[in-house]
Symmetry: none
Subunit: 201 residues, 4 copies
């Protein structure tokens, strides 16, 4: 039998959550390659056999976790959108969103860093990250569209990708590579750049 259990009962769900939790902490702490399945099972107080009845293999656990994580990451970013005036965005609104992005990394910068590291070498990981990128680019395009007449940009698709890339990479630099330069200064300039790029005058 090769089937993976879909937990329906309360205890089962709890067990699965415990496994995911263990993995989350261990991956963040010791890296994904540096963590083995036995460790994960042990930390979750499950047998290794149980582990493999909840997840087909280590990789599928990771993918499931990553999808979950990126959902939370996405929500964390865009909940700040509530505070902005969507169709009359100004510099302050742009800054608010950028700050939202930076804050969203607070969930677990280490897990983000470790999975992001696999992005360019593992197609499955990349696929999930691309779906996330797509969602975010769509959101940015929606904002551009909503402020169309106040914008100088014509090629909205390209612009959205550019903006997304810039913000993402600045956030990674700040969050993953230590505080070489004050985060606030980076946010300020990043806001400047995007603001001058987008808005007329």
């Amino acid at each position: 039998m090769n089937s993976v259990r879909t937990p329906r009962q309360h205890r089962s769900i709890q067990t699965k959550k415990r496994i995911i939790n263990s993995a989350f902490h261990l991956f963040a702490q010791k890296g994904i390659h540096g963590t083995n399945s036995k460790e994960i099972a042990e930390k979750a107080r499950v047998s290794i056999g149980s582990f493999y009845s909840y997840f087909k293999n280590k990789k599928s656990l990771l993918l499931e976790m990553l999808e979950d994580y990126l959902d939370r990451h996405f929500l964390a970013i865009w909940k700040s959108v509530e505070k902005i005036t969507v169709n009359e965005m100004g510099r302050d609104d742009i800054k608010l969103i950028i700050e939202g992005v930076f804050e969203a990394y607070g969930i677990s910068p280490e897990f983000h860093r470790q999975t992001h590291a696999l992005r360019y070498s593992d197609p499955d990981i990349n696929r999930i990250y691309e779906r996330e990128r797509s969602r975010e680019v769509t959101q940015i395009r929606y904002l551009l569209e909503s402020n169309k007449n106040r914008m100088r940009v014509s090629d909205q698709e390209a612009a959205a990708i550019i903006i997304h890339n810039a913000v993402e990479n600045v956030a990674h630099t700040a969050k993953f590579l230590g505080p070489k330069i004050d985060e606030k200064r980076l946010i300020e300039k990043l806001t400047d750049m995007i603001n001058s790029f987008l808005l007329k005058g």
Copy 2:
């Protein structure tokens, strides 16, 4: 004893080159974790013992290759600087530099991709990439300084980092993740963004 041979003789140098070459192709093709030392040696038509007399271990081979690669990458970018009017930069000059960056990835996008993937999980790889970043940021600051009076930016350090991040990540998206969108459009918008960010009026 753990000393690594420094080739003095012609044959030695050739052998070392063969190993590096073989590694270069395998790393690009199958990833760094996906390539083992035996394979590298075999492809180079060298015994595994020879491999380990030229390199302390797989990692040190990688680091040596990466330093070399990033030197070439750096030169490839900034050779285009000769064509620009350094202290009277305009949109065209910015575009020229960005195009230079994109072209520089031509050396081996795959090797770049694979090593970049390790950046956030391997401190040694990151150290080498940080040195490269530092060189590039310095170059950008030099250009900002040379065009000081025509610029609107005040915090040059932060600005240089932001610009570098934006360009790097857009290039990675274009070069590593397939042609989802036309490269020319991305370059165009990226140029726009940086241009409007930097130059008055």
Copy 3:
């Protein structure tokens, strides 16, 4: 060609000595298994190829060194015999010899320790050590014979072996295993034991 050079010329002899010297220090310092032939050659400023023209292999170097060493060890012990009244030995003479043994370890306790460690697992090493034992037991028997009428022992062969064993092992304990107990006290009691064993009441 498999022949090992027998050096006749001055420079050759010097080179061979340099190799032996290097090996001597490295073996003492890092153990015999912990030292490889390349290191020995390097420390002696000879090529590894030269090394193998002076010695058939690492083992034969070791055996040659050991024979040499044990010759010196033997001489160091029995030179003190000059000071004793051979055919009218008393407690002081016994003590003098024991002290001679302890001093003889001064040549290189570490080399002695490292080779002795191989004695019980390597038949070739053991053979050389057995030859040395034989020489020493012969000497002891000679002394017993010279003092025959003053001795209480009958089975001289067994007695000589026993005495040799006792002295050797006490010396090893003192010299190889650190100063858990003062050497002088051990020598004193060892002398007592042998004295009371041998000499009439």
Copy 4:
């Protein structure tokens, strides 16, 4: 199908025992350095992976075995003490103990020989042997103390060490290095020596 049910823990214990047994024979036969983990596993009809799930590494297997072995060795020696008149020891009692020591080597002279060979080059092995020595010296001192008024020795600590050394090395010579001389003669003389050393008149 293997229809015989082996309880979970029982099976585990059996496997571990099989590994230890296999190692015991191979170490004795081919030496410790001459035996590799794969061979041990094979002889025990166990996968190499199993081997490493029972023992951290080859060394820790050896240490565990040695501790066990020396416990048995110690008991084998001192069980003969029951037969002696502890506080009125005579020559016969001394002889009985020495014979006990010689017999104790019967458990596995080869394993003893191979591990003893490592004693002077491996600190961990030595540590375990030193603990054993300490136990034995303590026993000897206890006997000396119990017969205090009949003894001529003053420095009991040194005397105990000397005696222990003498007996140990004579036993090693007899047991490890082949029957060059009749064991009985050695025991006789050894008894004489210790007897005359210890007992008045």
